[in-house]
Symmetry: C2
Subunit: 321 residues, 2 copies
């Protein structure tokens, strides 16, 4: 756990010991890791006798709001030191964080893409979640890890690891989660909310997606189609469609999983590709002006669903002759 | 971790130290916990210098077979001591285990419903998985925990906790899993196989289940029905239906999730209940001669699907008047 870039854990702990009056920034479209890291850090610093707040994030969702409600900075709060958590670039700052772009004192992050925009950067890219780093920091500070800290850090680690199922999960992720449970994290309630509860809309939409799945090229390619009509019938919100693009790629023996989501009825589709090492998703999407990573990429095709599908199958036919 | 019934960990460790030539029994419809516990125990005992085999389980599925293939007892193997793992009653023995019903020397189990059918019973009902107990046993024996043991015990603990998301998950479950990863468990490959890959049959079956979901008592009770026809149409195997009983209980605001699975067309259904703390699933299932845990229980009702559903709704009507 010594893969750090910039300053290391001990230096960061000293940095906090010698300072006070902190403001913590989260990233746009806040996920569990940025939320939980910010909440855990601020509560931990407060328990340690420091003054700390979080910059209000206008995109906070109802699921996470209760965990941060007591930490939002008042408009007249004058911080001395600005910190960002789980944020790789200043472009990911919320709109009201723009004013701090040039004045971040410390960036705590686990993204290998961090652009070193901060005076100090504590980066541990091997960490599954930024929340693991906050835990190590509080332990190093000899700060107490109470129930509120534990809940926030459990949210951070469990969400970024898909409840310990994603490939980023390490022995440390599990061990820290074990400590957090002993420190009072309500893991049962959190797991149920975050990982074991689905809305009726989600279940209904998944049912429609499953019924409409298509397989091509001897089962190497699976295509899932989501029309505007399906979204309306299921009354699915953005929360309900979270992670839905992973479905076709999660089917046994599928090499390329494609999700075609109608964005403008009869006119435009947004395409998500997930692939195994056999096919480069970014290459396929580049053919349609899109991009991304080898294992996951996307593009937009200005055609109705059936024609977009036909165009994709034509390109994929080159890979599966 | 001192909630034991019968003999305790230290006694069990001594019992193993003083004996040799073991045969381990798994339960019918073997799940990850009985498989992984048996595999981990036998490999651990072998590494410890003992002679140990597993009684062939005719219901072993292709998913788990590779993990036990080297442990199956030859037909002429003459064991001195018979052990069962993760098995609450002798009725759960596989058919070829019937001959051992009266001669089990040690039952290692975490089911509170264990009937004490064995000469010695090591029961820790607070354990999420029997696999955790096997881990503690091997540590107490000072036996090595190598890659094969680690894989088997990781399978046991991760499957019984739904990849650490179910309410039975404890800090110990996570901590032991962390040790197993460090001991060489291929958690990434296992997680992908066990929790992030679905067969076409599974996806097809889920689509049918989602379309047929019913809600009763103001949405407090969700019922999923799986007919033999659905299983045939989707060509679903036992592996494909693993964990499928959790679906209705995973829907927002549902207190009791019921899965009715037709076991004999028009004649018999197997029922699975999952519930929040508000309702004791075992109590409900006991009304039909079944049993289990407060949060998850089962029973068999010798009626066609519709009549079984009616009988269940009548009993549940007492809870939701």
């Amino acid at each position: 756990m010594n893969d750090f870039v910039g300053i290391n854990l001990e230096d960061v702990a000293d940095w906090f010991r010698q300072r006070d009056d902190f403001l913590v920034l989260t990233h746009r479209k806040p996920d569990g890791d940025t939320i939980g890291s910010a909440g855990g850090l601020v509560q931990g610093l407060r328990d340690f006798g420091k003054n700390a707040y979080i910059l209000y994030n206008t995109e906070i969702t109802p699921r996470y709001e209760p965990f941060l409600s007591e930490y939002w900075a008042a408009e007249d709060y004058v911080p001395k030191h600005i910190i960002s958590v789980d944020t790789a670039t200043t472009e990911l700052f919320p709109v009201n964080g723009d004013v701090y772009k040039e004045s971040i004192a410390l960036s705590i992050d686990h993204h290998p893409t961090n652009t070193f925009f901060s005076e100090h950067t504590w980066l541990e890219p091997q960490r599954a979640a930024c929340g693991e780093m906050i835990y190590e920091l509080l332990i190093n500070l000899n700060a107490s890890v109470g129930e509120k800290v534990a809940n926030n850090l459990y949210i951070a680690i469990s969400t970024d690891t898909g409840c310990f199922a994603y490939t980023n999960t390490t022995a440390d992720s599990l061990r820290i989660a074990a400590y957090l449970i002993e420190a009072g994290a309500m893991h049962n309630e959190l797991n149920k909310t975050l990982f074991r509860t689905f809305t009726k809309s989600r279940i209904m939409l998944e049912g429609m997606i499953y019924s409409g799945l298509e397989f091509h090229f001897d089962g190497n390619v699976a295509i899932s189609t989501i029309s505007q009509q399906m979204l309306e019938e299921s009354a699915a919100t953005d929360d309900d469609t979270d992670g839905i693009a992973a479905i076709p790629g999660s089917i046994e023996d599928v090499v390329v999983g494609i999700t075609i989501r109608e964005s403008i009825v009869g006119e435009e589709c947004r395409i998500s590709l997930r692939s195994t090492e056999q096919i480069n998703s970014a290459d396929v999407c580049a053919r349609f002006g899109g991009g991304g990573h080898a294992a996951a990429a996307g593009c937009t095709i200005a055609k109705p669903i059936d024609e977009a599908k036909k165009a994709l199958l034509e390109v994929l036919g080159e890979y599966f002759p």
